[in-house]
């Protein structure tokens, strides 16, 4: 049985699947009429499974609108009886939240653009240019995929400490853009450039274009989908960074959002839940809204990269 299937199977699917079909194409299964109750059970089951995926976000948003005395109300209130925006005001006064928001945004934008640039360059060279030592150097770069960033955090901290760069944004900007996190991007870009027809470049070269021009004017514009994938997963990665900021940053005005979210405590060290929920809402909601509108790109982009679990 097994070998029969092997003989007739289509050529090996690549490890990274092509997702074109997911968003648009329905499954190839023929439509079979099923009794109405079967559908009711099916949708009922799906809705129950969906609760833990949706409820936390719902709870986060509604709790952020509740006054403190309603936060732990029993029975739990699914909608605030007396909605207030006080927690949103407090979020900005207890910590320099606007500043922290700006830090997260500018670091994410810098790292995302930087990663797109250097991974498109390196990925292109590894795929398209021949130079001595290429395979060896590609192996060296791939080492970055194998080594979890937690393994090198101690020496990295000491390096930046000796350069006087602890409690600045430089470690976040430099390591994330040039170090291990960008290797996956380089790998994705290389895989993409390998599939570009070589004739395009040969024609350009005959027209007298050099490598930089070929890359910038021909290869790069064609790699929009791969670049979008790199942009999405890099942005989400940087936006979520938690360990690195907590190690490198000490001053609240330098904090990034994930780090800041955990610091809304009262004078006794107790959590101010409604303020935390307001700050969390402001952190999570913009990306969530963008996702709902650009869902297809997100799903395909992230699936192409495989990210982490």
């Amino acid at each position: 049985m097994r070998t029969d299937v092997a003989a007739t199977a289509e050529p090996a699917a690549s490890l990274i699947p092509n997702l074109d079909e997911i968003a648009d194409h329905p499954s190839r299964a023929p439509r079979r009429l099923s009794p109405a109750w079967k559908k009711v059970i099916f949708y009922g089951a799906l809705s129950v499974i969906a609760i833990p995926f949706v409820f936390p976000t719902w709870w986060m948003i509604t709790s952020s609108l509740k006054p403190v005395n309603e936060i732990f109300a029993f029975p739990p209130s699914l909608w605030p009886a007396d909605p207030t925006l006080q927690a949103y005001v407090d979020a900005f006064t207890i910590q320099p939240f606007a500043r922290q928001y700006f830090n997260s945004v500018y670091i994410a934008v810098f790292v995302t653009l930087g990663t797109m640039l250097i991974s498109a360059m390196a990925g292109y060279a590894f795929a398209r240019i021949r130079f001595p030592g290429q395979n060896l150097l590609f192996m060296v770069v791939l080492v970055g995929l194998l080594i979890p960033s937690e393994v090198t955090i101690v020496p990295l901290f000491q390096m930046f400490n000796s350069w006087g760069l602890v409690n600045t944004h430089w470690p976040l900007l430099l390591v994330t853009t040039f170090g291990a996190p960008s290797v996956l991007a380089t790998f994705i870009m290389r895989q993409f450039f390998l599939t570009l027809p070589v004739e395009l470049e040969e024609a350009a070269r005959l027209d007298g274009l050099g490598r930089w021009a070929i890359w910038w004017r021909i290869a790069l514009p064609l790699s929009r989908t791969a670049l979008a994938a790199v942009a999405i997963f890099t942005f989400l990665h940087v936006w979520n960074l938690y360990l690195e900021p907590t190690v490198y940053l000490l001053s609240p005005e330098l904090f990034t959002l994930p780090q800041a979210l955990t610091r809304y405590t009262d004078a006794y060290g107790g959590e101010m839940w409604n303020v935390q929920m307001a700050a969390s809402t402001m952190t999570a909601l913009p990306v969530l809204i963008v996702f709902v509108f650009a869902q297809k790109q997100f799903v395909e982009g992230l699936a192409q990269t495989g990210l982490k679990g």
Partner: protein, 292 residues
């Protein structure tokens, strides 16, 4: 200069930024972490002394390391089993052209894009003794445990929170794989008298095994790196029952300033990831289908 040489030169220039970053921020620290692991670093006294294999010896004699490694293994195994099972179930359920399926795909995927710490904080809020989940349970007459402060439920909570966060990613990978399974094969099997379960087990599963392997590797390696979730939800407690290797490493190095021992722990983490990755690639030859 010939075209070929000029072209090779441009190749080096193209890879220079990435290569410099890898050398400076990955390879040099990797050498340093080995070097540090042979030293004792007293930050307060400002001393840095060679201690040979003392830190490695400490790995074997540290009474806490056993529970840390156990917690790491329990977390990884639990996460992988729950995550891959749920992802596969969701993918199979959603692999049809019924109305509203796209909306469900969006729902199951959406936590992937919610900020990790925000997601974890909300769950921490929900799982408190007097939090929303116990409140809902009380309404149907169940007295819920103090999820994050009791031994067995703390680890379970951390795993479950993480599964809901990222299962959508594996679900999408499985969906793509399922849609690549040729319909004719399934129909041929049906003609041969196979039932649904046999078709799934003997035809569909083998054909999507490369994807299962990929998600397995990604999920295991990702599970070994979990930090923020532990720091926000349980701080490694109660006791050290949810102190996984990375959390322990960071604690030793940055809270207790045991940089030497922290480096030894980092090497241990590296070794584990290395062994697992190699083992999985070897395994692939035996059970991933397209290899034969």
């Amino acid at each position: 200069m010939t075209y070929r040489r000029r072209d090779a030169l441009s190749g080096y220039l193209f890879i220079a930024p990435q290569l410099a970053g890898i050398v400076l921020f990955v390879l040099v620290p990797l050498v340093l972490v080995v070097y540090y692991s042979f030293h004792e670093w007293n930050v307060l006294a400002g001393t840095f002394t060679f201690v040979g294999l003392d830190n490695v010896e400490k790995l074997f004699t540290d009474p806490r390391l056993g529970s840390v490694l156990t917690a790491t293994a329990v977390f990884s195994v639990g996460l992988v089993v729950f995550n891959l099972t749920l992802a596969l179930v969701l993918a199979v359920l959603l692999n049809r052209r019924w109305r509203g399926i796209t909306a469900f795909r969006t729902i199951f995927f959406s936590p992937v894009v919610v900020s990790l710490v925000a997601w974890t904080i909300v769950w921490g809020f929900l799982l408190q003794d007097n939090g929303g989940i116990n409140g809902l349970l009380a309404m149907i007459g169940i007295d819920g445990p103090n999820w994050l402060r009791e031994g067995p439920t703390a680890m379970l909570s951390v795993i479950v929170v993480q599964v809901f966060k990222n299962v959508g990613l594996n679900m999408v990978l499985f969906l793509a794989a399922l849609q690549g399974v040729p319909r004719e094969l399934q129909e041929a099997a049906r003609v041969d008298g196979a039932n649904d379960r046999q078709i799934f087990g003997r035809v569909v599963l083998p054909l999507i095994s490369p994807t299962i392997l990929l998600t397995l590797i990604i999920t295991i390696v990702g599970s070994l790196q979990v930090y923020a979730q532990i720091a926000v939800l349980t701080q490694g407690g109660p006791g050290i029952s949810t102190t996984v290797l990375v959390y322990y490493l960071v604690q030793q190095a940055f809270d207790f300033h045991h940089f030497g021992y922290g480096s030894a722990l980092a090497l241990l983490l590296f070794l584990i990831v290395l062994v697992l990755t190699i083992a999985q690639w070897q395994l692939r030859k035996r059970w991933v289908f397209y290899e034969n």
